[in-house]
């Protein structure tokens, strides 16, 4: 709690104590000396809501207020202490009981809440009365002239009247700022005041006296209740009560004999029934108003939601009859649907489309909903396709069930999807074609390099060796030139071999996939320093050249990735013949692919692998993380019609 908050609480406490004193003074002034009501009479109606809303921390102020008030009205210090303790204790007990009731709403939005206050008030009055009685037996000073009933009812009454006033008016109403509302309130209060004066204080007694009775107050309370809710009612009631009390004190009007003959009982029951009726009406009226406002808000929400939906929305029966519809833009309406209301969709739609709709309704009536069914409506600008989603309106099952049907125009979407599929297929075909062309080209280059250049170099070497042999005795200058040429031939042979291998390993064609994989794995280990365990479960898998090439390239690409990015200490490649398909696993114990490391090259490499796998109708599964390295598992069907 901030310092400011705590200061505010202190100020409130002081204010409460001062209020106790002022109210005690007021009671003394109103009923001084005659002991009809106790000095804390009005204050308890204030103390209870303050402690209820503000918390038990206000109890000390309640105690202090009662103590000082008791002293103010002339009680002895000891008695004042006892009275203040009893008063504060009763307040604590009352609030404690009220707070235990989880259903109690301090804003008094229901009649129940008001009745609880009534019970609390009676309980409070009862306890106070018992307390006073006991005190009276102990000290004759307090015996006083009040009866037990008077004490109960007197203490209860202030709570019944003041507590609701504070609870309801805790928040200032905004709507009342409106001049009309405020004017009506002023009128109600004015009339109420006038009626109170007439009924209780004998105004115009000469010509109204014999008909001015208590029931006059009921219409004005009812008016306040219906027009202003609890807020107005809780204001009028205490005013009426005060007028009645003053009347009773001065033995005038309707309550003139209440004090003398019935110790406030008649007055109390009169006020209780008046306020119960008033509050019942008020809470009912305001509850009703709230519900109406909620319905309106819901309706607005629904309307806005409907307006935002670009689709056609119908309400139809199971037989296909239209009951209502909602369109966002009526100019987009399919012309044939115009004037469809109270007709049947069977008459409006083509037979095929109608059948789709009816089956959607049927499905919805069985499952509760239907989604995704589509049908075609011919229109001026060509066919349009609609997708249905159907829900069932709540209500008893049977032929009278209604359905809400949304027909969404999916023509563009379907067209786009179609285009997307086609373009995707074309892209795959292109990728596969390029892959093949590239592979063929590389194979041809490699073959030509090998056959032409390679063989020529071999022949050259043989010739050169012979020549060098014959020139063994030549001058050292020539010999050193020969040695240089020898080295040049070696380097050229090596370069040619390397270029050929890079383009396409000759072994793939000469010896098959198995030998090519073994050789590649060995070369990989030698070049990267990462041991690679290759395991093939067949000597000869009997694969055609295309599939062999694909598998070789996948392994090659994967191992390249491992060498470049994985920071692995081991790699493994396994090819397994599973009958209908081949299972290729490539694993490493490196840093995984999720790291920031992979640049575009790596992604492209992986993309190439995926593309190849897809080309052969295979499946690829990649498991990769910094903790587990990378594991690529690929299954490729053995037989597959290749796109040519």
């Amino acid at each position: 709690m901030s310092r400011f908050d705590s200061l505010e609480v202190w100020l409130k406490m002081v204010a409460l104590v001062v209020l106790y004193l002022l109210l005690a003074k007021l009671v003394l002034f109103l009923f001084g000396g005659n002991d009809v009501v106790g000095f804390s009479w009005l204050a308890s109606g204030v103390a209870l809501p303050v402690v209820l809303l503000g918390g038990y921390r206000y109890l000390p102020a309640v105690f202090l207020g009662a103590l000082m008030a008791a002293w103010l009205v002339g009680k002895s210090p000891g008695l004042a202490l006892a009275i203040a303790l009893g008063h504060a204790g009763t307040v604590y007990l009352g609030i404690w009981l009220l707070k235990r009731d989880a259903r109690f709403d301090p804003s008094l939005s229901k009649l129940d809440d008001y009745l609880r206050i009534l019970v609390l008030a009676l309980g409070f009055g009862l306890i106070t009365a018992v307390f006073m009685q006991v005190m009276g037996w102990l000290t004759p000073l307090l015996a006083g002239s009040q009866s037990f009933t008077q004490r109960v009812l007197g203490n209860a009454l202030s709570i019944v009247l003041i507590m609701p006033l504070i609870l309801v008016w805790r928040r200032w109403p905004r709507a009342w700022a409106a001049p009309r509302k405020a004017g009506e309130m002023a009128l109600i209060i004015g009339i109420s005041l006038l009626l109170g004066q007439i009924v209780f204080l004998g105004w115009f007694q000469d010509f109204l006296g014999h008909i001015a009775r208590g029931y006059w107050m009921f219409p004005i309370v009812a008016w306040a209740a219906v027009r202003s809710g609890p807020r107005g009612t809780v204001v009028i009631l205490p005013v009426i009560a005060l007028q009645a009390l003053i009347g009773a004190r001065s033995a005038a009007g309707f309550a003139s004999i209440d004090i003398a003959q019935t110790p406030l009982e008649n007055f109390f029951f009169y006020m209780t029934s008046l306020s119960t009726v008033g509050m019942a009406l008020a809470t009912y009226a305001s509850g009703h108003e709230r519900v109406e406002a909620e319905i309106l808000a819901t309706k607005n929400q629904l309307q806005a939601t409907l307006d935002a939906i670009p689709d056609r929305l119908f309400e139809v029966g199971l037989d296909g009859r239209y009951y209502s519809f909602h369109f966002h833009h009526s100019d987009l309406l399919p012309t044939r649907l115009n004037g469809a209301l109270s007709r049947n969709l069977l008459e409006v739609l083509s037979q095929e489309a109608a059948e789709v709709c009816m089956s959607a309704l049927q499905e919805a009536s069985e499952k509760g909903w239907s989604m995704g069914k589509t049908f075609v409506v011919p229109q001026i600008d060509g066919e349009r396709r609609y997708e249905l989603s159907v829900s069932v309106k709540a209500g008893p099952a049977g032929p009278d069930r209604r359905f809400i049907v949304i027909a969404r125009d999916v023509t563009e979407r379907m067209r786009d999807e179609e285009k997307l599929r086609a373009s995707e297929a074309a892209l795959h075909e292109l990728a596969s074609f390029l892959q093949r062309v590239r592979e063929d080209d590389r194979a041809r280059f490699a073959r030509e390099l090998h056959d032409e250049l390679g063989q020529n170099l071999s022949a050259l070497r043989i010739d050169f060796d012979r020549l060098a042999n014959e020139l063994a005795t030549a001058p050292p200058l020539i010999n050193s030139r020969l040695a240089a040429i020898d080295g040049m031939i070696d380097a050229t042979v090596e370069a040619t071999r390397r270029i050929c291998e890079d383009l396409r390993p000759a072994m793939l064609d000469d010896l098959g996939l198995e030998a090519a994989l073994a050789s590649h794995a060995r070369r990989f280990s030698k070049q990267s320093g990462i041991p690679c365990d290759l395991s093939l479960d067949r000597e000869d898998y009997g694969l055609d050249s295309t599939l062999s090439t694909a598998i070789f390239r996948i392994v090659q690409e994967s191992l390249t990735n491992i060498a470049r990015h994985a920071r692995a200490s081991h790699a493994m490649v396994t090819l397994e013949d599973r009958g209908d398909d081949l299972l290729l696993s490539i694993g490493d114990d490196g840093c995984g692919m999720s790291s920031k490391l992979p640049g575009e090259r790596r992604t492209h490499g992986l993309l190439g692998i995926r593309e190849r796998v897809k080309m052969f109708g295979g499946r690829i599964d990649i498991d990769s993380s910094p903790e587990r390295g990378t594991h690529i598992e690929i299954s490729i069907p053995r037989t597959r019609e290749l796109p040519r």
């Binding site: 090998h450 056959d451 390679g454 063989q455 020529n456 071999s458 022949a459 050259l460 070497r461 043989i462 010739d463 060796d465 012979r466 042999n469 070696d490 042979v493 071999r497 000759a506 072994m507 064609d509 000469d510 010896l511 030998a515 090519a516 073994a518 050789s519 041991p531 365990d533 395991s535 479960d537 081991h570 493994m572 396994t574 397994e576 696993s585 694993g587 490493d588 114990d589 490196g590 498991d623 990769s624 993380s625 903790e627 587990r628 390295g629 990378t630 594991h631 598992e633």
Partner: protein, 215 residues
């Protein structure tokens, strides 16, 4: 006198070879062939003491050609001459029935020696490939099954035999569980066993589990 048939699709190459052989007293080139079909024709038609065969000629696949010649002329010694230095080529050629394998690069220095050895019923392998092949041969001998495992496979074999689960091994070796299962399959296959308990029994019998692995 050793009469030989030279099969190579490159005239230049054949000329070069002939020149090397011309220097010798005991070798005579009795025929030449320029592709696979030509070779088959020639060996069907004449008798030679040795076939000097280029492995990569147009037409038939080299290995297939060797097999075919072997079935038709089982007694004709074949010396394969090839551009390729990878041991796979040599292994395939020898397995298919060739008696010798010589890289073209070393032809001028080794050709005569190779021809003489092969013609005398011996075998010849280019020195560049000897080391590689030696390991291949060693792999064929009758060592215990676990010796066939690679280092990594052996490590995983020991972990499996020590009772570690796939997940635990994967975590410790920084591998995907799938990779470890693949290794497991491989180990079992290489060891010709069907289950982990077999591995445990084998490990116990061969004293491979004596150092308990720490967890």
């Amino acid at each position: 006198m050793i009469s030989i048939l030279i099969a190579d699709d490159h005239t230049l190459m054949r000329e070069g070879l002939k020149q090397i052989l011309a220097a010798s007293e005991d070798v005579i080139v009795s025929g030449e062939a320029c592709d696979g079909f030509d070779v088959l024709d020639k060996i069907r038609g004449g008798e030679y003491d040795l076939l000097l065969l280029d492995m990569s000629m147009p037409g038939r696949n080299g290995v297939e050609l060797i097999k075919q010649i072997k079935t038709e002329k089982p007694r004709l010694p074949m010396l394969v001459l090839s551009m390729h230095k990878e041991s796979e080529y040599a292994v395939r050629a020898l397995r298919a029935g060739a008696a010798g394998y010589l890289c073209k690069d070393s032809a001028s220095k080794q050709l005569l020696r190779a021809i003489r050895e092969v013609a005398a019923g011996g075998r010849f392998i280019s020195p560049e490939l000897a080391a590689d092949l030696a390991f291949g041969v060693i792999r064929q001998d009758n060592r215990p099954p676990h010796a066939l495992l690679s280092d990594r496979e052996f490590l995983i074999f020991r972990m499996l035999a020590a009772g570690d689960g796939i997940t635990a091994i994967a975590q410790r070796l920084n591998l995907s569980a799938k990779t470890v299962s693949t290794y497991k399959t491989r180990v079992l296959r290489k060891m010709q066993m069907s289950s982990v308990p077999d591995l445990v029994r084998y490990g116990l019998a061969h004293g491979l589990l004596d150092e308990p692995t720490k967890h």
